[in-house]
């Protein structure tokens, strides 16, 4: 739900970023308030994923100009793990595999680290086990996920569910979900988007990065932004996504957001 008086969570101004010396982001402005759902759409190579990773602090993405504040703090002064502890969550397009590390141990460590940073109590393995199983039900995940190595040998759908499970555990203020719908069949998409919807409150926000409108049938955005050539070239309501689905991206090429 969008409210003009809601608290600003993320404010990005004139963001430029390079990858391996090549400028990918060429001036991005974005304001996300509590309670909002934003969708960032655009063709491949438009810079959507770069934007997401730059906000989360991936070391390969070099910010060359512009500012970004998260709840008033300059996030470019914060290491990636500090941003995570502050409540900025990135759902990965390609979640990494970590052979030999059990999912349960990883989830508990992540949970306790973020809880600790918030001054809240950590959970011991038994308490955590109860807690995580509750969350897993939301995502229709089998308990055997806990014993397997992190994302190791998971199918594409399983990896994405594991991402949303982490979101459910860490309860971020702002979740940026990078192509969370890619590689999901229709049932998995329903489960994953159902999970995201249940996590939405008036105090947090979600930015969906996606190539297709399909996901937006399940998670309805308040704003749709179209990226092209490292800039947001158009912003509209949910109807913009429908129009993009019908007309593709080409008609917008060359336009710059007013």
């Amino acid at each position: 739900m969008t409210r003009a008086d809601a608290k600003v969570l993320l404010e990005v101004k004139g963001l430029h970023a390079n990858v391996a010396g090549v400028e990918i982001l060429k001036g991005i402005d974005l304001v996300v308030r509590a309670g909002e759902v934003h969708a960032i759409m655009g063709p491949n190579g438009s810079g959507k994923s770069t934007f997401a990773k730059a906000l989360a602090g991936h070391p390969a993405y070099e910010v060359t100009a512009g500012t970004a504040t998260f709840e008033g703090r300059n996030i470019f002064d914060m290491a990636a793990e500090e941003r995570a502890r502050a409540g900025l969550f990135l759902g990965f397009q390609y979640p990494l595999e970590i052979p030999g590390v059990s999912n349960a141990a990883f989830l508990r460590l992540a949970y306790n680290t973020v809880q600790g940073a918030r001054g809240k109590d950590e959970l011991d393995p038994l308490e955590f086990d109860d807690y995580v199983r509750e969350k897993m039900k939301l995502l229709e995940m089998d308990a055997s996920f806990l014993d397997r190595s992190v994302n190791d040998g998971f199918s594409g759908g399983e990896k994405k569910r594991n991402e949303i499970l982490q979101m459910a555990l860490l309860e971020p203020r702002l979740a940026i979900l990078d192509e969370t719908d890619s590689g999901l069949d229709i049932d998995a998409l329903r489960v994953v988007s159902g999970g995201v919807n249940r996590l939405l409150t008036r105090d947090n926000a979600v930015v969906l990065v996606t190539h297709y409108q399909r996901l937006l049938n399940y998670i309805v955005p308040d704003y749709v932004h179209v990226m092209e050539g490292g800039r947001i070239i158009k912003t509209g309501g949910r109807e913009l996504a429908v129009e993009l689905e019908a007309r593709g991206y080409d008609w917008l090429k060359g336009k710059v957001a007013a």
């Binding site: 991936h58 990636a80 793990e81 990494l96 030999g100 990883f106 190595s149």
Partner: protein
């Protein structure tokens, strides 16, 4: 003639020195003969040049081969180097062990004698003999004579020959027929009484149907003024017997510039003599300037099983050339090798292994997995497996991979709030999990911490 009353032998090695060692220890004639035979053979041998390690030539005539056990120097924990205590703290070494490891006379702190005594009584009830090899030579000469040097012959290799000639002490362990050893045997219960010295000799025998789990070493850093260590360990498993031998080695590795540190040249071999016997080696090697060891299994008995689980970590200027030999002689023998090498700094870490299937080893099977992880651009990881198959019903599989701790992996963990050091420790422990699972629980926890400590500051 060397003065037999002297507490310390003069530097150097000759037959008189060997006679002195034997006389000091009141050994029987046959053992002196074994020592002399080994020494004469050693003289004809050359130091092995094939390991992938470099070190200045050792002057064997500049080593003191015998010195009487010294009393503990320190009187209380207050006298211990605070740096050492800090390390104990980080590793979570129990208080009573800290004192012993730091070289404090233990009875000042607590009554270890009673601990050791209770322990010994319990073992004696079931007929398990666990004592120093010197005591065994004195109290159980027939057993020692029957098995000593049967797995690692006195002339087996350069360092084994040297050890056979001059070994001063070590452990002896005998599990009689049908007995499951009621507790894990740990060298910790022996180090209080006597230093093992630089030429340690261990002999473990499990009779028919017996089983034992033996723990060697500890995670605490072990300092020693002797640079060269050449130990020999022999295991014998008779029919249906089972020996599990676990090592955590954290000898002084030298400083960050590669100065100093122990040369650890060890020969460890187990003989699965009986049918259905099993010998399993697990090692976590993190210390020493140079590690040269290949805990091996000779699978003589039909259906016998050999296992080798290893984590070898090298950092700074450490060098490790380690692995195993699985020699399949009997029918339906099985072996399994899991080796995890981690190289950091400017270190060099090699896995060297042999799987040999003899002509009679019908139906033999081996599986080997040797993975390397490199941390930084100045280290090296090598894999040298030798596979020799002389029987066409055998099946041998070897796999090896090399990986690194990826920037993206670290970013993923950071994005979940996990800082770099913890992330590295998590990835490393995941990498080593198959080996750590083989360790007794409390050992595994300590080993995990130890790897983290050893890699401090290596990543990022």
């Amino acid at each position: 003639m060397t003065d037999i009353e002297a507490e310390t032998a003069p530097r150097g090695l000759n037959e008189d020195i060997i006679r002195l060692i034997s006389a000091k220890k009141h050994e029987p004639e046959w053992l002196l003969e074994l020592r002399l035979k080994a020494y004469r053979h050693w003289l004809t041998m050359a130091e092995p040049g094939w390991p992938n390690v470099k070190y200045p030539k050792i002057d064997f005539q500049n080593v003191i081969y015998y010195s009487a056990p010294k009393p503990k120097k320190l009187k209380s924990m207050d006298e211990v180097d605070p740096e050492l205590l800090r390390t104990f703290e980080k590793l979570g070494v129990p208080m009573n062990e800290r004192a012993a490891l730091a070289g404090v006379a233990v009875d000042v702190i607590f009554d270890s004698v009673s601990v050791a005594t209770t322990y010994k009584q319990k073992l004696a009830e079931v007929g398990v003999i666990f004592c120093s090899i010197s005591e065994a030579v004195r109290d159980h000469p027939d057993l020692v004579r029957k098995y000593l040097g049967t797995v690692v012959p006195p002339g087996d290799n350069y360092y084994a020959a040297l050890n056979s000639a001059v070994f001063t002490d070590g452990s002896f362990c005998f599990i009689p027929k049908g007995v499951k050893c009621p507790m894990e045997l740990s060298t910790y219960f022996r180090i209080n009484t006597q230093e093992s010295g630089q030429f340690e000799r261990t002999l473990i025998i499990a009779e028919e149907g017996a089983s034992v789990s033996y723990l060697e070493g500890c995670t605490a850093p072990k300092f020693d003024s002797n640079q060269l260590h050449a130990a020999v360990v022999e295991l014998v498993a008779l029919d249906d017997a089972d020996i599990k031998y676990s090592t955590v080695q954290n000898w002084y590795a030298g400083n960050e510039q590669g100065v100093g540190g122990i040369y650890n040249f060890v020969t460890k071999r187990g003989l699965c003599k009986g049918a259905n016997s099993k010998i399993s080696w697990t090692q976590v090697e993190t210390g020493s300037a140079i590690t040269w060891k290949y805990p091996s299994c000779v699978l003589l008995g039909d259906n016998s099983i050999g296992e080798f689980y290893s984590v070898a970590l090298t950092n700074h200027h450490q060098q490790a050339d380690t692995g195993t030999k699985m020699v399949h002689i009997g029918r339906n023998t099985r072996s399994r090798i899991i080796s995890k090498g981690i190289s950091a700094g400017q270190s060099n870490n090699s896995y060297r292994g042999l799987v040999k299937i003899g002509a009679r080893a019908e139906g033999a099977r081996n599986f080997s997995q040797c993975d390397s992880m490199l941390i930084g651009t100045k280290c090296g990881a090598n894999t040298f497996p030798y596979i020799q198959v002389h029987n066409n019903s055998a099946k041998v599989e070897h796999e090896a991979t090399t990986s690194k701790i990826g920037e993206d992996q670290l970013f993923y963990l950071a994005q979940r709030g996990i800082g770099a050091e913890e992330a590295v420790s998590m990835i490393i422990n995941g990498f080593c999990r198959d080996v750590f699972q083989q360790l007794p629980m409390e050992f595994a926890v300590e080993a995990t911490k130890l790897l983290g400590l050893k890699l401090e500051g290596s990543v990022g």
